[in-house]
């Protein structure tokens, strides 16, 4: 029988949650790296026991860990992220130019077929790649050549937080940055172009034709349709069916189209999930009710999923990395909150149960479906 491993990054450590295929009883392991911020940890599709973890702290900076036994033991690998050439400058909050400075790794994306190849999205925004299991890192500098001087940090910093690899074409990848937008490479990351046509950010960017500067929060793809992408932007939920050439808004009847997470059902490429958040300053669910919204039509028409979720006095947030799906049937959906709960649904979102309730604030959730 298959089993499930949920990898949870929190403000004060990592946790590994495991269950059999029924997804009813869970074992909780952790904290790993207690006291450190774990922005993200993720397993290799090519070797599920190979995990990478981004560990950072204000005091001690960035550390990268690697596990070869599914998170039971870890070893430290390379943490030297040096921008290629002269790093240059990007836009600062006051409109002046500010030097590029490495702060932390937001996202680790292991390659599809090689467990030793892994991508890192970092703050200040850039993309790095390691081909030796994380021991050494090299920047893919072509990304920052796409009007990098116009990129600006959002309130949470200027992080490259989303890396989506095309499972059918190793040369094609998509990334997203707050607040620069979405970008696509079709040559393995050497050169890049912006894919923000159709994004509208009138409150943040007066220029409706702006190629960069959009605050994209998350992009999701179903592996069977790599040219269809779904986006949760700062405001608005959008989709593209031509790999980012044009986006259209599909917020439909959502109670708020602000939010952070978005993901796609494992077996239904037109079934997607978001967690509406009231606004960009309040950062909690509308009406104190935590609800996942599901669209079975690829957007536009949404239904609230509330069974098992708190429906009063709930004022947590769900951050951009904190939703994932498993590959079982029925599909399991998972998300974590800033209140330290990790909720799971074993029936495609119809009902929810907390796996754990009292972790530190959850920064990221990833799921592995193990044979």
């Amino acid at each position: 029988m298959s089993s499930i491993r949920v990898l949870v990054g929190t403000r004060k450590g990592a946790f590994v949650l495991t269950s059999d295929g029924k997804r009813e009883k869970w074992d909780v392991s952790g904290p790993h790296f207690g006291g450190w911020e774990i922005y993200h940890l993720k397993g290799s599709p090519a070797d599920p026991n190979r995990l990478y973890a981004s560990q950072s702290s204000t005091w001690f900076g960035q550390v990268i860990h690697r596990s070869d036994d599914g998170g039971t033991t870890w070893e430290t690998v390379g943490n030297e992220f040096i921008y290629e050439g002269v790093p240059g400058t990007h836009q600062w909050y006051d409109g002046t130019q500010h030097p590029w400075e490495f702060k932390r790794v937001w996202h680790l994306e292991p390659a599809q077929t090689d467990p030793n190849t892994v991508y890192a999205g970092v703050e200040d925004a850039a993309l790095f790649r390691s081909a030796d299991g994380g021991q050494t890192w090299q920047e893919l500098p072509g990304l920052r050549e796409v009007k990098g001087h116009l990129w600006a940090p959002g309130a949470g910093g200027m992080g490259l937080h989303t890396i989506v690899l095309d499972p059918g074409n190793p040369e094609r990848m998509f990334i997203a940055i707050s607040a620069a937008g979405a970008f696509r490479s079709q040559d393995g990351g050497e050169t890049w172009g912006p894919i923000n046509n159709g994004l509208k950010s009138p409150h943040e960017i007066p220029d409706p034709q702006a190629e960069v500067g959009h605050c994209v929060h998350r992009i999701a793809m179903h592996p069977s349709r790599p040219s269809t992408l779904f986006m949760q932007k700062h405001w608005d939920v959008l989709r593209t069916d031509d790999a980012g050439d044009v986006w259209r808004e599909v917020s439909g009847n959502l109670p708020s189209d602000f939010g952070f997470v978005i993901d796609v059902h494992a077996h239904e490429p037109e079934t997607i999930y978001v967690v509406p958040i009231k606004s960009d300053s309040e950062h909690y669910p509308p009406d104190g009710k935590l609800r996942v919204y599901r669209s079975r039509t690829g957007g536009d028409e949404w239904e609230a999923l509330a069974k098992g979720l708190p429906q009063q006095d709930c004022y947590v947030n769900v951050l951009r990395e904190a939703m994932a799906v498993d590959r079982l049937d029925p599909c399991g959906i998972y998300f974590g909150t800033t209140g330290g709960q990790v909720y799971a649904s074993a029936d495609s979102g119809d009902s929810w149960l907390p796996i754990v309730r009292d972790l530190p604030a959850v920064l990221s959730v990833e799921v592995q479906t193990l044979p």
Partner: protein
């Protein structure tokens, strides 16, 4: 031998319990101690000093002999009590953040 006391999180990172004893070639300075420490434990690179500039990270301090030496020249000789091993060189996480 030079005695170095790491903060708890770096002891966990290096799997060290208690003090670290280091052989450091004279002169004994902040830089030579940290060079020897990072040579012994490569996983500490970047966690005490910036990879590029080699400057002390903002929320770490260096204490010895009841003095805060954090702002001293990293190439200045440390007190004889540190060089002789009578007193430890302490790397301390500042009381900041949460």
């Amino acid at each position: 031998m030079i005695r170095v006391i790491l903060p708890a999180h770096l002891r966990n990172l290096t799997r060290v319990q208690g003090e670290v004893a280091l052989a450091v070639t004279a002169p004994v300075t902040q830089r030579t101690i940290l060079d020897a420490l990072e040579a012994r434990y490569p996983q500490l690179r970047g966690t005490i000093r910036d990879h590029g500039t080699q400057e002390r990270r903002a929320y770490l301090r260096f204490f010895a002999c009841k003095q805060d030496l954090s702002l001293d020249d990293p190439d200045s000789p440390l007190p004889e009590a540190v060089a002789s091993g009578a007193e430890p060189f302490r790397i301390v996480g500042a009381m900041a953040g949460g």
